[in-house]
Amino acid sequence: MKILLVGVNALSEPLAAMCERGGHAVARWETEKFLAARTIPPHEIFIEVETTALEKKRAVLERAAEDALLFLCALNASVTVAASWVQNPARVVGFGALPPLAANGTIELARGLQTAEPSWERAQNFWRALGQNVVAVADSAGLARARIVCCIINEAFSALQEKIASAHDIDVALKLGVNYPQGPFAWGDLIGLDTVLGVMEGLYAEWRDDRYRPAPLLRHYALARQVPVRS
């Protein structure tokens, strides 16, 4: 299959590698270049991983070929909402994963209200053929894992902002106190703070509930880019 993968985040490279190992031809595009391109290569499957700004996500999705199976990364928007932006939303399926992406890992899939049964089945078969364990979850921004993990990271930033402890000590505390696989700041670096912020903003937009308000310090570091988190 010809796959067009648009967006660059911590998932894009391992996703492309996984698809190539599965025998697909993958064209990777950075969001800005994709939006500026006069013509886009033909594709049968379109995978979107623009997890920062919703307006960029929308612009990317609007350019997907009308008949391609469309996977949208549901980390920062629900499937139904994002599918409402595209032509033929029946072929849209949402997916969710967090880095590190394992070859024999688990992928979350969600269908929007508009998703048609054949697209849903094709979507599940596609990921299973790539060796992924498919878990279906209900459609809501962030799906399950990213929602939980990013809320933890967001809370760590709010604790750091209040200077209750150093970033190092917060990471150590969560690893040793509750056996987390990674400290929240180390995990945030791995996911990308712009994506973590995208998840929080997606949750906030979806629920309009103050519990999802992004910590200002998370936004600062996400926008400062590449600046290591300091205590």
């Binding site: 890992g105 688990t106 878990v135 967001n154 000590d169 040793l176 106190g177 056996n179 929240p184 103050d210």
Partner: protein, 283 residues
């Protein structure tokens, strides 16, 4: 400030676990509780845990015997107060703890450091019941305290740098890892870990997936136990109490809002493993 002798006030689950680690760290330990049978139960527990450590080859027999020798039991608070460091591990009731600390303050040497193992109450508020707020610190151990490697050292508003240093040296001698934290509600772990339970409960309440599926998802990214299996282990009542305490301590900030599922299950007596029924059935 040299610490040689340590009193542990309260011989329950946390107290006897702390006494175990402290005795193995080479300190003389006085274990206090209000009634002889409570202290005795605590001592027996320590002996069991030491025997288990030896059986699992985590401890050598001589070290376990030495640790036993170093622990003394008492029901006299004034006698327990004659130590360099006094760690309180009484039930989580502010008035009870303030009273205890007030009494200890009257009997303990002026140089003694006071510590509380509280997980949810303010160190500064407890310290205000004594004349030694500068020598008052939080030492928050995690359950089971004889095994868990982390201690949160909580600096109250009046805690001196010397007291923090002495606490850090004490934790290091227990071969545990200390993190330093300001006196704020729920400290580090109980606060930052809240969404692990809170968001999982919301997802369950929304019908995003069932508990077993959500657990498997979280385990797929490296958590040793998913949120529902973990709540069943901790006890839903304990987890709900912590959630409510954090929520109220932050004046009902919606980030920490408990979930109706928790209350309903707690009130139904579905507390997890200990009652045979929680998110899973253990019968």
């Amino acid at each position: 400030m040299r610490i040689e002798s340590v009193a542990i006030i309260g011989a329950g689950t946390m107290g006897n676990g702390i006494a175990y680690a402290t005795a193995l760290g080479g300190y003389r330990v006085t274990l206090y509780d209000v009634a002889p049978e409570f202290v005795q139960r605590g001592i027996e527990r320590i002996h069991q845990n030491l025997a288990e450590g030896v059986a699992r080859k985590k401890l050598d027999a001589a070290a376990a015997d030495d640790a036993k020798e170093r622990i003394h039991a008492t029901c006299e608070l004034a006698a327990a107060a004659q130590c360099d460091l006094i760690i309180e591990a009484a039930p989580e009731q502010l008035e009870l703890k303030r009273q205890l600390f007030g009494q200890l303050d009257a009997h303990a040497p002026a140089s003694a450091i006071f510590a509380s193992n509280t997980s949810s109450l303010s160190i500064s508020v407890m310290a205000s019941a004594t004349q030694r707020a500068d020598r008052f610190v939080g030492l928050h151990f995690f359950n089971p305290a004889h095994l868990m490697p982390l201690v949160e050292i909580v600096r109250g508003d009046a805690t001196s740098a010397e007291t923090v240093n002495a606490a850090a040296a004490f934790v290091a001698r227990l071969k545990k890892t200390a993190v330093l934290c300001k006196d704020t509600p729920a400290f580090i772990v109980n606060r930052v870990a809240r969404p692990f339970y809170g968001e999982a409960l919301r997802l369950l309440g929304e019908g995003a997936a069932d508990a077993a599926t959500l657990d498997a998802l979280m385990e797929s990214i490296g958590f040793k136990m998913g949120p529902f299996r973990l709540m069943d282990l901790i006890g839903l009542d304990v987890n709900f109490a912590v959630t409510q305490s954090v929520y109220n301590a932050f004046f009902q900030d919606p980030k920490y809002r408990p979930h109706p599922i928790q209350r309903q299950m707690v009130e139904s007596g579905w507390l997890g493993r200990k009652t045979g029924r929680g998110f899973y059935s253990y019968e």
